[in-house]
């Protein structure tokens, strides 16, 4: 490939991943997940009574995701509290997780997923999804499958997997493209697709294939973390 990654990684090489389940004793389920220097911690509370009452749905439980960067997770301090960005990302994470959940058995309740980023080096929303999926499984919420997520990038004309901050700020040729995606682990179905940048439609197809392969690697890390949580 033409563009050399500053990290020295190959185009299809992920950063080192770590995953741990059961990191917050108070929560009904919890997990952390990291891509290199990007860390996400997630807690699940519920199913529990939903307030306000008018939001209750008598035919199913609902999922409520809160995602945000912690104030010290980025170079310029992030003002605490929800922003348009964090509200949008919270919602797309909700949509990314819902297709694998079966909440019909918990009418009128809510399952709260809280995901925060203490340290950010790009790809935070996909790290958050990986942590949240693990925390939901740890909480014993009925799930059809796990969800794995990765950010595929394009630097000038070349596709790379698992974008870091240095690559997000790349500004040569066709510039940077960030293409976060989430898929159901054992199916070829995507639950999150977002994109910013400049990429030809034909390359979108190639990026999807690259993302599938990366998600398989992530799934293996997630499975291992869940098994460890059971055996200890």
């Amino acid at each position: 490939m033409a563009v050399k990654r500053a990290s020295g990684r190959k185009a299809d090489e992920m950063r080192e991943m770590t995953a741990k389940v059961g990191v917050i004793p108070n929560a009904d389920g919890s997990a952390s997940f990291s891509f290199g220097n990007t860390i996400a911690i997630a807690a699940v509370y519920g199913p529990r009574q939903l307030h306000p009452q008018h939001m209750q749905n008598p035919s199913t439980g609902i999922l409520r995701v809160t995602y945000d960067l912690l104030s010290f997770s980025v170079s310029d301090r992030k003002k605490p509290g929800p922003s348009r960005r964090s509200q949008e990302i919270s919602k797309v994470i909700e949509w990314a997780l819902l297709p694998v959940l079966d909440l019909k058995e918990f009418p009128n309740t809510v399952i709260d997923v809280q995901v925060y980023i203490p340290q950010a080096d790009a790809s935070t929303r996909v790290a958050a999804i990986n942590a949240a999926a693990l925390a939901l499984a740890h909480a014993g919420i009925p799930m059809r499958d796990l969800v794995s997520a990765v950010s595929v990038g394009k630097l000038d004309k070349d596709l790379v997997v698992d974008v870091d901050k240095n690559e997000e700020d790349f500004h040569e040729g066709e510039g940077p493209t960030d293409f976060p995606m989430a898929k159901i682990a054992n199916r070829n179905e995507f639950t999150l697709l977002q994109l910013d940048g400049k990429i030809q439609p034909e390359l979108v197809k190639k990026a999807i294939v690259m993302g599938q392969k990366a998600c398989n690697e992530i799934y293996a890390v997630q499975q291992k973390a869940l098994k460890e949580a059971i055996s200890t």
């Binding site: 348009r84 949008e88 697709l193």
Partner: protein, 272 residues
Amino acid sequence: MSAMEMTNVTKQFFKRAFSEDKRYDGRKLLDLNTVEIEYGVSNKAEGSARVKLGKTEVIAGVKLAISEPYPDSQDKGSLIVSGDLLPLASPRFELGPPGFDGIEIPRLVDRMIRESGMIDFKKLCIKEGEKVWTVFIDVYPINDDGSLLDAAGIAAVAALKNATMPALDKSGVIDYDAKTKEKLPISKETLPLSLTFYKLGNSILLHPTREEQEACDTKVTFGGSHWNGVLMINSCQKGWETTFTADEINHMMDVFPKKYEELHKKVMEALK
């Protein structure tokens, strides 16, 4: 007109019709709606436009202000896209702080325009590190009959193309009433447009009416534009609670270039 939830029977009806490539208004699934554009929504705005996409109507206005540059882009102006789903436009919109759709629409319009490179932000710098132009685009629906995001994008782009710079007086303060003939620093060749694909069962359609849209299970928006003569996807966002398969994504990528060019032609004709 009341805002009732769609019944399962109606949904099944749409599902069957879509599987036969049929729609109430006679269009096929991937047929686009009609596009009409007018200018002059407000003579106080630096630029404004009214867009009708089928029966959906959206107005957009551009205002310019002078502000300090962001710390990470000292020599560049900035863009802020906002909007509100006014209860004026639909019985489904409610008073109060913006809900998710009210946040998502301006954010997606912002990303589509920003990533296309349509605006030359460096030319919006007045004095590096001190003063830059901020371009505000505000979009408001007037009548929601589906495909609001795609319509809002056209309105925002049309208002930008229509806008002129306000004059500055001797002390460098804006005189909004003294308009110049100078256009904003935007590329004439770049026309960012979005197309949102909606899915019900195995059927995928474009430019749904409000009722068709409500029957659908999931959606994904792609924003695109020409860059050095090549069609690029600049933004994408999947929404709602079911999935798209890899095959469906590939199919949409095959369809997108053709449909983008078709919409481009419609919008260019309507812009005249």
